[in-house]
């Protein structure tokens, strides 16, 4: 049985970390208002585009290869997540467990070779 009380300090750490970073973001905003540094103008609040007004919405089309990378990442990261419990318990599961995982990895490598061959990994 997992002893969840081990994770309580992490939860507390999460609270402290969020508090510290929120203070870092919001306190200077208050300080700038007090010191008079806070003077927004229309030009200052415009988005940066090399000195002229933006002539196009920035949320335009982007390269589909980024999407492909994200999909490949999901496959391989999920695989790594499967490997973690397997790696810890290799001694108990023995040769049968090892062989099963190798079959699984082999199937995945076939998929990887396919992705390579159709050019999903090409960036030129």
């Amino acid at each position: 049985m997992v002893d969840l009380s081990q994770y309580l300090p992490i939860l507390l750490f999460l609270g402290v970390a969020i508090a510290i970073s929120s203070i870092f973001v919001f306190l200077p905003m208050g300080v700038a208002r007090l010191t008079g540094a806070h003077k927004p103008t229309a030009a200052k609040l415009a988005e940066y585009e090399c000195g002229f007004p933006a002539f196009e919405d920035s949320r335009s089309q982007f390269d589909v290869r980024f999407y492909l990378v994200a999909i490949l990442f999901i496959i391989f990261d999920l695989e790594a997540a499967f490997l973690f419990p397997w790696a810890v318990s290799l001694e108990e599961i023995g040769i049968a467990g090892w062989a099963t995982m190798m079959v699984f990895l082999f199937e995945l490598i076939i998929g990887f070779i396919y992705a390579w061959k159709v050019g999903a990994l090409e960036w030129e």
């Binding site: 081990q6 994770y7 309580l8 300090p9 992490i10 507390l12 750490f13 999460l14 402290v16 970390a17 969020i18 510290i20 970073s21 870092f24 973001v25 306190l27 200077p28 905003m29 300080v31 700038a32 010191t35 540094a37 806070h38 927004p40 229309a42 200052k44 609040l45 415009a46 988005e47 940066y48 585009e49 933006a54 196009e56 920035s58 949320r59 982007f62 390269d63 980024f66 990378v69 994200a70 490949l72 990442f73 391989f76 990261d77 790594a80 997540a81 490997l83 973690f84 790696a87 810890v88 290799l90 023995g94 040769i95 090892w98 990895l105 490598i109 990887f112 390579w116 990994l121 960036w123």
Partner: protein
């Protein structure tokens, strides 16, 4: 310490106070370390380029980072009118929170760890994956072209190298037989001929130690993989629209991640808080000193690389990640597990 507070303040509240103090003992020195490591980075970089580096504020310029910090603290926070305000302010908070949070499971010495969970390495991998959210949200919420393109690049780069980092971690876990970070360090004691305490000196694990070092450069977007903030094409990357402390938080988070990656290099491959040689007198030096020394050496190599190596092109970066590192690290999972099955777990006998 927990017992002391629990006897004086009651079980629940005493636990809370004791852990709060421990957390602040990690978080505050970490922020100080980030300030000093930025200074060290600039000094090393300057020395390699035969410049002096920061030398005006304080003795040898030691207070430079604090002067910079004060300056950005007093600046105006500019929130562009086209941005999504909530998300825009959330992004630096996420980045810095995540950068701090991974330190909860890092052991600084024997038993010196805040949360001694048995899936420590999985936790570190999970938390460092969350760092992508800060980057993507900042690029999206800025609603400006350069941050958007930079966030795309950064996200793709980080997740690409996370894949090979995942497999490298698997190999280390296989070798140690546990994913608890303290356990991984203990498994390195006398691992080479009973003399050296370092996985990296193991011929089987040395190649992935090199792979891990390069992957950690890419994962933290350090030179030569700092394409996300290639000034000549992307201005300041996904931080372009940020100002004041929100901008500084990205820097702090970035350098906290760099130190974390150095710590992981030290923990997984260089024996963590163990002395480099398994020799009794060396154990009189506290483990935390060895650990910080190893982090320092690793960071020096990070700076060295930054000062000497030219930047990669994006297609080269993705090719290195997917076509070289991924197959090698995957093959090494097979190699290490197969070797262990034969030698340690007696598959053939």
């Amino acid at each position: 310490m927990t017992e002391f507070f629990q006897t004086h303040l009651g079980a629940g509240f005493g636990w809370f106070v004791a852990n709060l103090i421990l957390i602040l003992l990690i978080a505050l020195p970490l922020m100080l370390a980030v300030a000093m490591i930025i200074y060290a980075d600039r000094k090393i970089w300057a020395a390699i380029a035969l410049r002096k580096g920061p030398n005006v504020v304080g003795p040898f310029g030691l207070l430079q980072s604090f002067a910079d910090g004060l300056k950005v603290f007093l600046q105006e926070t500019i929130i562009p009118s086209a941005s999504n305000r909530g998300l825009f302010l959330m992004a630096p908070i996420i980045t810095f929170t995540v950068a701090l949070l991974a330190w909860a499971v890092i052991p600084f010495g024997p038993g010196m760890v805040l949360a001694d969970i048995n899936v420590g390495l999985l936790y570190v991998l999970a938390i460092s994956s969350l760092g992508v959210y800060g980057v993507v949200i900042s690029g999206w919420a800025s609603n400006s072209k350069y941050p958007f393109f930079s966030a795309m690049r950064a996200a793709a780069q980080m997740i690409s190298y996370e894949v090979s980092i995942g497999f490298i971690l698997i190999s280390v876990i296989l070798w140690a037989g546990t994913s608890n970070l303290g356990g991984i360090i203990d498994a390195q004691r006398g691992t080479i001929l009973g003399i050296f305490n370092a996985n990296a000196l193991n011929p089987l694990l040395f190649p992935i130690a090199v792979l891990f070092f390069i992957s950690s450069l890419a994962e933290t977007a350090r030179a030569p993989f700092d394409l996300t903030e290639a000034e000549s094409e992307l201005v300041a990357g996904y931080q372009t629209e940020y100002s004041s402390m929100a901008f500084a938080l990205f820097w702090l988070g970035e350098y906290a991640n760099v130190i974390l990656m150095c710590a992981l290099n030290a923990l997984l491959f260089w024996g963590g808080w163990l002395p480099p040689v398994d020799w009794a007198p060396l154990y009189y030096v506290p483990g935390i000193i060895w650990f910080f020394l190893k982090i320092g050496i690793c960071f020096f190599m990070f700076s060295w690389v930054k000062a000497t190596v030219p930047r990669y092109r994006y297609d080269q970066l993705m090719r290195l990640g997917w076509k070289i590192f991924l197959p090698i690290s995957l093959f090494w999972v097979f190699l290490v597990s197969g070797y262990l099955m034969i030698t340690r777990y007696g598959a053939l006998s």
